[in-house]
Amino acid sequence: MSSKRPNQLFRNLNAKIASVPMILTAMVVFFGGTIWTIVYSFTNSKLLPREKWVGFDQYERLWNTNRWLISIENLLIYGILSMVFSLVIGFVLAALLDQKIRFENTFRSIMLYPYALSFIVTGLVWQWLLNPDLGIPKVVRALGWESFDFDPLYNADIVIYGILIAGLWQGTGLIMCLMLAGMRGIDEDIWKASRVDGIPAWKTYIFIVIPMMRPVFITTLVIIASGLVRVYDLVVAQTGGGPGIASEVPAKYVYDMMFLGQNLGQGFAASTMMLITVAIILIPWAYLEFGGKRRG
């Protein structure tokens, strides 16, 4: 037992050794990969990465590309709507399930099961359901509503909503579960207090429960947001970006540029823009979550 302060590096060495995979993943894959991507976004790499520097050319081209702009716009629309709807629908469903109802488990399973299915499957099924010649639109017309003309997958103006319907179908169940868990975590006494105060249930949810569920909402937002940048699979399976380029998304742009267009530089530039966006959203959050407070 030395009285000297031992080398800090070797204190709790096991913990550090156990963290090596995490450190490697963080540093080599995510950090390294990000840096590598950014560096090569300043080259005109085509099929293979090469160090031919072209400055900001790729970015200039990126922001002059209609498809990229539409992708961004789509992601914005999809992102905002899917956040709003996921949260609202998830919350409302959770609130309904929270009413001590019968068959709660059944309802919950029904809402959650789509989450078990991949985006590919989701996309395929909804592509089919929304097909104007086969799916719901046809049935509605067959039922007598002749003028029913809802064909989101073939109408550039609303295609993104067609994707949204599928996306929500797949993801809201999980959000609902998170919300439900959050609601159940709220002190029973709060509910009692509000009942004694004569506050109607819906008001209690809106003015008291929602503000108390802040951490849940943050977790939920993170989960939705991390799903957003990956909306690729769904789009590919459901519309392939079409009609035209009406439902393109940034991740697809990146992918297509890198592998179809064989213009890695352009793909990397687009990736970098996505990463920057993510960073802008995420860093303040990470700071608040991990930097600001310490564990007591």
Binding site: K46, L47, T65, N66, D133, G242, I245, A246, F259
Partner: protein, 388 residues
């Protein structure tokens, strides 16, 4: 020796054609391990490229001709097939020298072209026109004129799939067939933006706008689904390459009776030659390397070529083959080929990057009625201007 061959030939006709290749290869005592990836080149190519650059290459892989694989070749990842080619005298027997040309880099041959494809075909459903009481058109203009009748009868005049390459393809066909060889070359070969902005090109865009209107309501993604609309007489016609013929065959339809094919849209019988080629990544395994050369040789073999191309609906890459079994349409194509009315396809002229951009632009154009032909033309011209 087992060789893994990746490709994206998964439609009915295509699969049957691949089977011929496999059969021929298996007959040499080796084994063809099929690595089909469905969803077309756009799905398959990234996977192929990743595997090759990732150091886990397949033994052979399909690529389109042209610039797609050039960098892989330059990086020394592809096997040099010059030895086989010279031994078997490919240069002399090849039907479309330009295709072998595009397999060549610095005088060395790196791929095996296996067929000749041409894009400039209009496929028409005889029955569809019969239904509406119009004669089967003999050229594009008649087809356009017949469109309203088809519409009235609840048919889609022109079937057009949603994938980007089909849409650009349609435009390129219109460009060649209606605009002629010169205009085409100016634009794609010389990257002449002026030509792209010219009156002549404007006409093409007008025609494209017509096509756009005619294709409304197609609502399919894959090209063969569009073809299927023609086969089932739901659509009047489709502009598609000769590979569409494979689908008609699988469906048991007979050229001339059930359907009509118009090369060059019936206007300008010019064909681009395009084709599929197989590349052979460099492998460390001696045995496999030897088998690779065997496979290359099998693919180019005259017998295999006939069997393969009959199924595929394309033209063989060799001139020294007997094509008695070929049908009507194929013969029409051969005739044009023999006359030498062939030009290089756009894929050989522009980089994939530019091609993707042009595809993007046309996908947009064909699905968005609000884009005027003039706007589209201007954007097209800009892309041509900036092409490298």
């Amino acid at each position: 020796t087992d060789l893994e061959v990746t490709h994206w030939w998964t439609s009915g006709g295509e699969a049957a054609a691949v089977a011929e290749l496999a059969k021929a290869f298996d007959a040499t005592g080796n084994k063809w391990v099929d690595g089909a990836i469905a969803g077309g080149g756009s799905t398959a190519r990234p996977i192929m490229i990743s595997r090759i650059t990732g150091g886990d290459p397949m033994a052979a892989t399909q690529f389109n001709h042209g610039l797609q694989a050039q960098e892989l070749v330059e990086a020394g990842l592809m096997r040099d097939l010059t030895g086989v080619a010279e031994k078997e005298n490919w240069k002399d027997v090849v039907a479309a020298p330009s295709l072998l040309e595009s397999c060549t880099l610095d005088g060395k041959i790196y791929c095996v072209p296996v067929n000749i494809h041409s894009w400039q075909w209009l496929w028409l459903s005889n029955k569809a026109f019969e239904d509406v009481g119009v004669a089967v058109p003999t050229n594009w203009e008649e087809f356009v004129a017949a469109a309203p009748k088809l519409r009235e009868a609840g048919k889609v005049p022109l079937a057009l799939g949603g994938q980007a390459w089909q849409r650009r393809g349609l435009f390129d066909v219109l460009l060649i067939s209606l605009g002629g060889k010169e205009l085409y070359n100016k634009i794609y070969q010389d990257k002449d933006a002026e030509a792209a902005r010219s009156e002549d090109t404007a006409k093409i865009f007008k025609a494209a706008a017509d096509a756009r209107e005619m294709s409304e309501g197609s609502n399919v993604q894959d090209w063969n689904q569009a073809t299927n609309m023609v086969i089932t007489d739901k659509a009047g016609g489709q502009v598609m390459g000769d590979w569409a013929q494979g689908e008609f065959q699988v469906a048991g339809e007979v050229a001339g009776e059930d359907y009509t094919c118009l090369p060059g849209l019936g206007d300008n019988a010019l064909l681009t030659t395009n084709g599929d080629a197989f590349y052979f990544p460099v492998l460390n395994d001696e045995e496999k390397s030897a088998a690779q050369e065997e496979l290359a040789s099998v693919m180019f073999d005259a017998k295999t070529q006939v069997a393969f191309n009959l199924k595929k609906g394309s033209l063989p890459i060799r001139k020294d083959v007997d094509l008695n079994a070929a049908n009507d349409c194929m013969k029409k194509g051969l005739a044009i080929l023999e006359k030498g009315d062939v030009i290089a396809s756009a894929d050989q002229l522009v980089t994939p990057d530019t091609a993707t951009q042009i595809e993007g632009m046309f996908t947009e154009f064909f699905s968005d009625m609000s884009i005027t032909p003039e706007d589209a033309q201007e954007r097209f011209a800009e892309l041509i201007e900036n092409a490298d």
